[in-house]
Amino acid sequence: MTMVGDAISHAVLPGIAIAYWLSQSRASLWMFFGAAIVGVGATIIIEVLRKKLRVQSDASIGMTFTSLFALGVVLITYWSDSVDLDQECVLYGEIAYVPFNLWLIDGVSYGPIALWSSGILLLVVLLYIIIGYKGLKMTSFNEDYAAVLGIAAGLWNLSLMSMVSLATVVSFESVGAILVVALLVAPAATAYLFIQRLKPLLIASASIGLIGALGGYGLSKVLETSIAGSIATVLGALFLIALIIHSLLARKTSKYAMEA
């Protein structure tokens, strides 16, 4: 389902543009609502294409997000006098500007806005996982079985997609829509090479994500490069190392299996 996340992170662009145009503000709340509506809409379109119109599942994802993204770019260009957004900002946000975008109330600074929104996001996600643990677990592993147990699989899928949209919108200003995907996928994929049980998997991927973020930040300081790009690079390198170890282990076990 990871490509759906990637698709949604692009598809939300028209939602963000319309919300921005209507509210004339860059407040995250408005953009979130715009993005969430379009994000859920995109999920529904993808499902309809796949199930009702029998389009290949890859193609239904690809068709939907490119169409919406193109619409978003056209809208942004059309309103370019009043909407201060560009597609570069969606492609690769700049986390380095985060400290300058401060949350001011009556002239008193409460720190960078992005820090607050990310912090709240972290809490919301944690809460969501704790509350929804069972439903999510069942839905992720076996949708049919979940349905038999009376778990509303469709609802959980939709809520998971909404969470992905939320995470995307909150992060896209700092890291951009494509690198968000690296953050979403790479840690879990790396951990999954060695761990298949859900709880340890969650903990391991959170740790890998943290290592990637810190390592990437360190790298970007040393090389003076884009922070988001460096984080994705470190996450990619971690996965590559894990993949090599995984392949070596697999070769060893298959050798033993041959000898035995």
């Binding site: 389902m1 389009v55 690809g62 997000f65 993204f69 193109a70 492609l91 790009g229 990619g236």
Partner: protein, 420 residues
């Protein structure tokens, strides 16, 4: 005509139709998003080529992109075949980390303040408006190369797409075919993203095929249609973007393409949503009508005389939506299968024979399920309720023969044959 406009028009049209042809094979393999991943994964190769060599030489950048794209393609394949990760995880992983690495390398260039990044920017956002005469030559060469490649390897691509095992079994060099296909795909993407940008490249590969597939089942027709859809979108999109000031070409091409895509999926005859919906409704109507005939026939069978039933009577015997029942009776009357008697309806001779047929199929199928498939007699009714509307005269004949002209069904009801 404005020469700049003409250049953009020719360039985008060539590109869109070449990309559509390669995209069609990926579409049929169910791997459309691999193209999206490759489009993103080109970036590090392009930037490295820029860093190592002459940034202004487009051929150099294309070679860099090609290498990067090939590594990404084989990387995705390796992860898919050697680990338990799902295939779309492999795709998104390679896509995002390669792209991130590219962004990191690009920020290195920005820091070192080497100018002429325009060549790189094109790879991210696409600059259709900046198409030069040189580009048109490159695009034309690529289009010819792609057409020749697809022409030469047509059989191989076709077999690779539909049945790879069969292709190797008859001795085709599958790895070579796959490599050629990958190189052509990566080439099309490399050139394509310079026009529409990283994100929208996927549309050029996927949408024409999705649209074409709704119209045809034959591969050559599909390739041709996909190319035609892509070319018309390129032309229309270029016109629109030149008519409205400041408008980018790529997104408009993609929007027009989306119109073709969604339009085809909804309106195409046979495979389109509307056609399917119409067929489903017609089927539903037929089922209700046949159920009404069956109901009347069974009542006659029980009372052994011709019966007249009001709609209320019918509804008390069989649960149906009153609205649908009324429609069915109206159609049956028009088809002369029932006649109205006062406030009720009775079968005509024609209707009786049709009702008898439905009851016969129902009972034959029930008998087949118990006799030949060993199912319990109390489990077979629901299946027979469906099959009685589906079984064709040919299958009926086979059933009768297979069961040896049976007289009674599992519930000891007679199987009604047409009197000779």
């Amino acid at each position: 005509m404005d020469p700049i406009f003409l250049k953009v028009l020719i360039g985008t049209t060539l590109l869109a139709s070449s990309a559509a042809v390669v995209g069609a094979f990926s579409y049929l393999k169910g791997q459309s998003l691999v193209g999206d991943a490759i489009a993103h994964a080109l970036l590090p190769g392009v930037v490295l080529a820029f860093l190592l060599g002459d940034g202004r030489n487009p051929i150099f950048l294309i070679v860099g992109a090609l290498i990067s794209g090939l590594i990404a393609h084989y990387g995705i394949g390796y992860i898919q075949s050697r680990t338990k990760l799902k295939s779309d995880t492999a795709v998104s992983l390679v896509l995002s980390t390669f792209f991130g690495f590219g962004i990191m390398l690009m920020s290195l260039i920005q820091r070192s303040g080497q100018g002429q990044q325009a060549g790189l920017e094109r790879y991210l956002l696409g600059k259709a408006a900046a198409i030069t005469m040189d580009d048109v030559y490159v695009f034309s060469a690529l289009a010819v190369l792609l057409m020749v490649g697809v022409g030469l390897f047509y059989k191989g691509f076709q077999l690779m797409t539909f049945n790879e095992d069969f292709a190797s079994a008859i001795g085709l060099p599958v790895p070579l075919i796959r490599f050629t296909f990958t190189v052509l795909t990566v080439l099309a993407i490399t050139i394509g993203i310079q026009t529409v940008g990283v994100v929208l490249m996927a549309a050029l590969l996927i949408t024409p095929s999705a649209a074409a597939r709704a119209w045809t089942k034959s591969l050559p027709t599909m390739l041709l249609l996909a190319a035609v859809f892509a070319a018309s979108s390129a032309i229309t999109g270029t016109y629109i973007s030149s008519a409205i000031p400041k408008m980018p070409t790529g997104p408009w091409v993609v929007l027009v393409l989306a119109l073709f895509g969604f339009g085809s999926l909804i309106f195409a005859p046979e495979k389109g949503w509307l056609a399917k919906r119409r067929r489903a409704l017609a089927n539903q109507k037929k089922t209700v009508q046949e159920n009404v005939l069956k109901l009347l026939y069974q009542q006659e069978e029980r009372s052994e005389v011709s019966v007249v039933l009001s709609t209320e009577n019918m509804l008390s015997i069989r649960a149906m939506q009153p609205e649908k029942l009324r429609n069915a009776l109206r159609d049956l009357k028009r088809r002369l299968l029932v006649v109205e008697h006062g406030s009720g309806y009775a079968l005509t001779e024609l209707g009786r024979s049709e009702g008898r047929r439905v009851v016969r199929l129902h009972r034959l199928w029930e008998l087949y399920l118990t006799e030949r498939l060993g199912m319990a007699a109390d489990h077979i009714h629901p299946g027979a309720e469906t099959m009685e509307h589906v079984i064709t005269p040919e299958i009926e004949e086979l059933l009768v023969k297979e069961l040896g002209n049976p007289e009674l069904d599992p519930h000891q009801s007679p199987i009604p044959y047409e009197e000779a």
